[in-house]
């Protein structure tokens, strides 16, 4: 077993239940020691893909390769992957230590070596003091860490995690996210994580694959997905976004301009679409600024504050504009140029590169 973890590849993976397609033609590569997250709304096929990788669900089509070897037909008990199930699946009739020892007992490891490994695994997740308790006597976060220790104790080269943090409260979740990330750095194994929490996906992963209706919509590094979403769904699911719709009016080197009503918005793009076609731009709320008198920007629109809320670190404003409807704008509180007030007229400005052209996949969604 390599210490660096396995490389995993999915080739055209599909899973159908009768006439319903749960996973449709998904191809993915996970490099050695990489942390990949499958992100998507409920029912998008994340668990199904993970279960195919683990071997509990037989794909209708496609292949799963481990270090280039086809393992599609291999039964789960011969794959040697560590797995943390949605809801942990700890054995309720065993103590914490017995749970963690289970994979070692299965491998007929000697008692002394087994005990040493169990202790090391429990130390790793800081649960050594709870070794003799039953899972039912632990909090959700502690149970999650037992599940993690149990998945790690036999040093699997690939670790599969199905929403490992979903049952935890926000603070504990953040804590365990950090722990999980540190663990990944420390042991250098390949992790495949499933979540529908976009913050978790952004903060933990080397790479994120976004799924919707069983299809892979886009994959890439977190920053790449956030800064350059390919479709409306991705922009909307990963963080918040405003959408500006208009007609392409002018194309120039490295960008184009759209018009909607009396407003013109420029954007950066490698290949501008045809003049006169419809285009959709995604614009993150934090990428706009309130412009002072006489200040200019590559893009500006006039608007009126229709509503606002205080969020501690920032203000969230809803700015009513004549041509793009309501735009959501966030400002850091500490250097907000104004005190927000309903009915206040403001001028918003942003750089061309901040408004990103995206494919409008909502119509396809409705058709699906």
């Amino acid at each position: 077993m390599s210490a660096a973890g396995h490389a995993l590849a999915l080739r055209g993976l599909s899973k159908r239940y009768g006439s319903f397609t749960a996973v449709a033609d998904v191809s993915l590569e996970v490099g050695q020691g990489e942390f990949l997250t499958l992100l998507g709304p409920s029912g998008s096929g994340k668990t199904t893909i993970l279960m195919c990788i683990a071997g509990f669900v037989e794909p209708s089509e496609g292949a799963i390769l481990l270090d280039g070897r086809d393992i599609t037909a291999l039964p789960p008990e011969r794959r040697d992957f560590g797995m943390v199930f949605q809801g942990y699946a700890l054995f309720p009739h065993m103590t914490v230590a017995e749970n963690v020892a289970f994979p070692l007992r299965v491998r007929k490891m000697g008692a002394a070596e087994r005990e040493a490994k169990v202790r090391a695994a429990l130390d790793l997740v800081q649960l050594a003091a709870f070794a003799e308790r039953r899972p039912s006597q632990l909090s959700g976060g502690q149970q999650q860490r037992v599940a993690l220790a149990r998945a790690l104790v036999f040093e699997p080269a690939l670790l599969l995690l199905d929403e490992p943090l979903s049952a935890l409260d926000k603070k504990l979740r953040a804590e365990l996210q950090d722990e999980l990330k540190a663990l990944h750095r420390r042991i250098g194994r390949t992790f495949v994580n499933v979540t529908h929490d976009q913050e978790e996906a952004l903060s933990l992963s080397d790479r994120v694959a976004i799924l919707n209706h069983g299809r892979l919509i886009q994959q890439g590094a977190p920053a790449e997905l956030y800064e350059a979403p390919r479709t409306r769904f991705v922009a909307d699911f990963l963080g918040k976004s405003n959408f500006l719709a208009g007609t392409v009016q002018e194309a120039f080197a490295g960008g184009f301009a759209i018009g909607a009503g009396a407003t013109r918005v420029v954007t950066a793009a490698a290949a501008p679409p045809a003049l006169g076609s419809r285009a959709l731009l995604s614009l993150r709320p934090e990428k706009m600024a309130l412009l002072a008198e006489g200040e200019t920007a590559e893009n500006t629109v006039q608007g009126v504050i229709a509503g606002w809320s205080y969020l501690g670190a920032g203000y969230a404003l809803n700015v009513e504009t004549p041509d793009f409807g309501t735009l959501r704008v966030t400002l850091p509180t500490w250097n907000a140029p104004i005190a927000p007030r309903e009915g206040l007229a403001v001028r918003l400005g942003w750089r061309a590169a901040a408004s990103v052209p995206v494919l409008d996949d909502l119509d396809q969604d409705r058709a699906a």
Binding site: A54, G55, F56, P75, P76, E77, R78, R79, D80, F81, G82, M83, F85, G87, A89, L90, F91, P92, H93, F102, P103, R105, V106, R107, R150, F154
Partner: protein, 261 residues
């Protein structure tokens, strides 16, 4: 939510039913302590002489011992095959296994006299009449439904992800069975075992058909005693039987309570 309190009609009918169930059982208690030499209520005073007779009579003790061994063997057979059948049906979970499970309940649906006639015909050819093995087999097979029912119920509450977790960690089928599935459904197995034991312990109809002299179980001896000599020792035996069976049921109750916790 306020619980509905039962009205007077429900209370009275419940009392009548309970009385109806308990009276025949409770009448044997004074009868077993009669000072007379035939089956009757006590006249001058209470006496434990018939208990002494039973506990020192080689016939009664022999029958008790034989019944106990047969019930033990039958329980073993019923528990092993009933548990395996229930687990197999649960794992495959097809329409055909639902049918199979229904089929396994036949022994308690078919009148035992019908079953006894069939067993008599078959066992004659196999030289199993009036044999310990024959009676244990017949009781074991008719005890299977109790185990199938209780184990299937326990399995319905078993989280299938535990099995997946075990296999994902590399456990073979037999390791998963021994270390994960069986410990989780053990209360159901024990419960089924207790019922299978009681079933064999007081079974009479089949025994009347397939056993005659060598195999003489306790219910059979009581039956013969009633027909032949009205010995009050029978009432004493009956009381012992009731006490023993009640003990087993209380054990089952205790096991269920522990599982519920």
């Amino acid at each position: 939510m306020m619980a509905h309190r039962p009205g007077w009609f429900a209370r009275i009918s419940a009392g009548v039913v309970a009385l109806y169930l308990l009276l025949p059982i409770s009448i044997i208690i004074p009868v077993s302590m009669t000072d007379q030499r035939f089956l009757s209520l006590p006249k001058q005073g209470l006496s434990l002489q018939h208990y002494v007779t039973v506990l020192f009579s080689p016939e009664w003790l022999g029958s008790i011992w034989q019944s106990f061994l047969i019930a033990l063997a039958a329980t073993g057979l019923a528990v092993v095959s009933g548990t395996l059948c229930a687990i197999g049906c649960w794992r495959l979970a097809r329409r055909s296994t639902d049918l199979l499970r229904a089929l396994m309940l036949l022994p308690i649906i078919i009148p035992s006299i019908v079953y006894a006639i069939g067993a008599y015909r078959y066992f004659a050819g196999l030289d199993l009449l009036d044999r310990f093995l024959g009676v244990a087999l017949a009781h074991g097979v008719t005890g299977i439904p109790y185990v199938v029912i209780t184990v299937s119920t326990a399995l319905a509450a078993f989280d299938p992800r535990l099995e997946q977790a075990a296999r994902g960690m590399g456990a073979s089928l037999s390791q998963t069975l021994r270390w994960v599935i069986l410990p989780r459904i053990m209360p159901g197995i024990l419960s089924g075992g207790i019922f299978a034991f009681i079933h064999s312990w007081d079974e009479l109809v089949i025994v009347l058909f397939i056993a005659s002299r060598d195999v003489f179980t306790l219910p059979r001896r009581i039956w013969d005693g009633i027909n032949e000599n009205l010995d009050p020792a029978m009432a004493a035996v009956a009381v012992l039987l009731v006490v023993f069976t009640t003990g087993l049921l209380l054990l089952d109750l205790a096991l269920r309570r522990r599982r519920a916790e």
